[in-house]
């Protein structure tokens, strides 16, 4: 089936088998390997991207379901003037160790602030419950998200 998806601002068209998962399409057809596959069972959130501005797990969405929609991946966050404020906050607060969960974590965090620009610490923890990190113990991730929120980092 012929699909057309706007990825990070540019429309990409391709022929896909209906069973192609969005995450595979992004990594293999669009060539954007920043989005990771962690669990492949909808649990870990490593594959989180934005679909029409909302955080979703791209391992649990068919590429054909995203036909005609806009997808933002981690590659699409930074602007001409450098890192997105959330990326900068993760760097400043050491919100990552191995970095595997980070693309999904950052996308989920940006989505969270879009819906709740001034979350409490509890709301950050609940808002990120769909993202697992095997390294950092979450403390610095939560600190980074709160710092980004304080600087108005939803964008």
């Amino acid at each position: 089936m012929r699909i057309s998806i706007e990825v990070n601002g540019a429309v990409q068209q391709s022929d896909v088998e209906p069973r192609t998962l969005l995450v595979h399409w992004l990594r293999e057809q669009a060539g954007l390997t920043g989005t990771n596959i962690g669990c492949d069972s909808s649990s870990c959130g490593a594959c989180t991207v934005h679909l029409d501005g909302e955080a979703v797990k791209s391992c649990t969405i068919l590429a054909v379901q995203a036909d005609g929609c806009a997808v933002t991946t981690i590659e699409g966050l930074a602007g001409p003037d450098g890192l997105h404020p959330m990326q900068q906050a993760f760097a400043d607060h050491h919100g990552l160790q191995c970095g595997f969960c980070t693309p999904g974590m950052v996308m989920a965090a940006v989505g969270l602030l879009r819906e709740n620009p001034a979350p409490t610490e509890d709301e950050v923890r609940t808002g990120l419950e769909g993202n697992l990190c095997r390294c950092t113990g979450y403390h610095n991730i939560v600190a980074a998200v709160l710092a980004a929120a304080a600087r108005g980092g939803g964008r």
């Binding site: 089936m1 088998e17 209906p18 069973r19 192609t20 998962l21 595979h24 492949d40 069972s41 909808s42 649990s43 959130g45 989180t48 679909l51 909302e54 955080a55 979703v56 797990k57 649990t60 969405i61 068919l62 054909v64 379901q65 989920a108 989505g111 969270l112 819906e115 609940t126 808002g127 419950e129 769909g130 993202n131």
Partner: protein, 274 residues
């Protein structure tokens, strides 16, 4: 993990969806948010040969005030149920239950109709709508019918829906100020309930439903009878597991589930919400 091959068609309306599924027979399935179906297809536990995508039927996504009840379109996503001012005002128990479904990524995709049609006893919304005395509207080649939640759940992942019937609306009676509680017992934040309880109470009237206490969502009828006879929360809750046959699995033994049901029903009847 990738699903087995299938054909994909997108429906523009409820009628078109029903026509497409009937045309393809038992091999076809509706696809709503895909957050139960796609994981099953990836595991090859489901292998439909045709998927009829109803996810874009915008006019099946709504919450309306219909007098004594709320009318909720089957394609309304969990996030939209959770945040709807109408649901928060007239069915706060349902808004709370919707906020407990999976995580925010799941709630951006999954729909109330998909959750009910899937009929998983471990799901939050089937039991919650059962407690609230909801009814479900389904449309198919033989017309449209309304099914009471109490007649809907037949067995594990099995409901009164025919394969070619599309759920189009969920009707939830307004709670009219009833006291309520919601309890979801999990070991990890985003998990499914090991046992869950949705309950409301107004004087001696009540609705108390159990998540994951058997092959279907269940009403705790002994508890509701006891409340009707004037028992207090504590005493009525002691009967929460009467007549249930919960399973034993890696998360909990059947005995532990029965214990949880009694404790969680008491908490829910005390108006506590997780």
């Amino acid at each position: 993990m990738i699903p087995a091959p299938f054909e994909y068609v997108r429906a523009g309306s409820a009628d078109e969806a029903v026509a497409l599924v009937s045309q393809h027979g038992d091999e076809a399935k509706f696809l709503a948010g895909g957050h139960s179906l796609v994981p099953l297809m990836k595991l090859r536990l489901a292998q439909p040969s045709v998927l009829v995508d109803v996810g874009r039927i915008r006019d099946l996504s709504y919450v309306r005030d219909a007098g004594d009840h709320l009318a909720i379109g089957a394609l309304t996503r969990h996030m939209d149920v959770e945040t709807s001012p109408l649901v928060r005002e007239h069915a706060p128990l349902l808004a709370r239950a919707a906020s407990h479904v999976g995580d925010s990524q799941v709630r951006h995709r999954g729909t109330i109709g998909g959750s009910i049609a899937h009929a998983d006893p471990a799901s939050d919304l089937p039991a919650t709508t059962l407690a609230l005395g909801a009814s479900y509207v389904a449309t198919g080649p033989r017309g449209t019918r309304t099914i009471a939640a109490s007649d809907f759940y037949r067995g594990f992942l099995d409901s009164a829906l025919e394969p070619d019937e599309l759920l189009v609306e969920v009707r939830v009676p307004k709670m009219a100020g009833a006291e309520w509680g919601f309890q979801k017992f999990v070991r990890r934040a985003q998990d499914w309930a090991i046992v869950g309880v949705a309950a409301w109470r107004r004087g001696r009237d009540s609705g108390v439903a159990l998540v994951n206490m058997g092959p279907t969502p269940l009403l705790a009828r002994s508890t509701m009878d006891a409340l009707r006879d004037g028992a207090g929360a504590d005493e009525a809750a002691q009967r929460a597991a009467d007549g249930t046959d919960p399973s034993s699995d890696v998360n909990a033994s059947a005995e532990y589930r029965a214990h949880l049901a009694r404790v969680l029903v008491r908490r829910a009847l005390e108006g506590r919400a997780t």
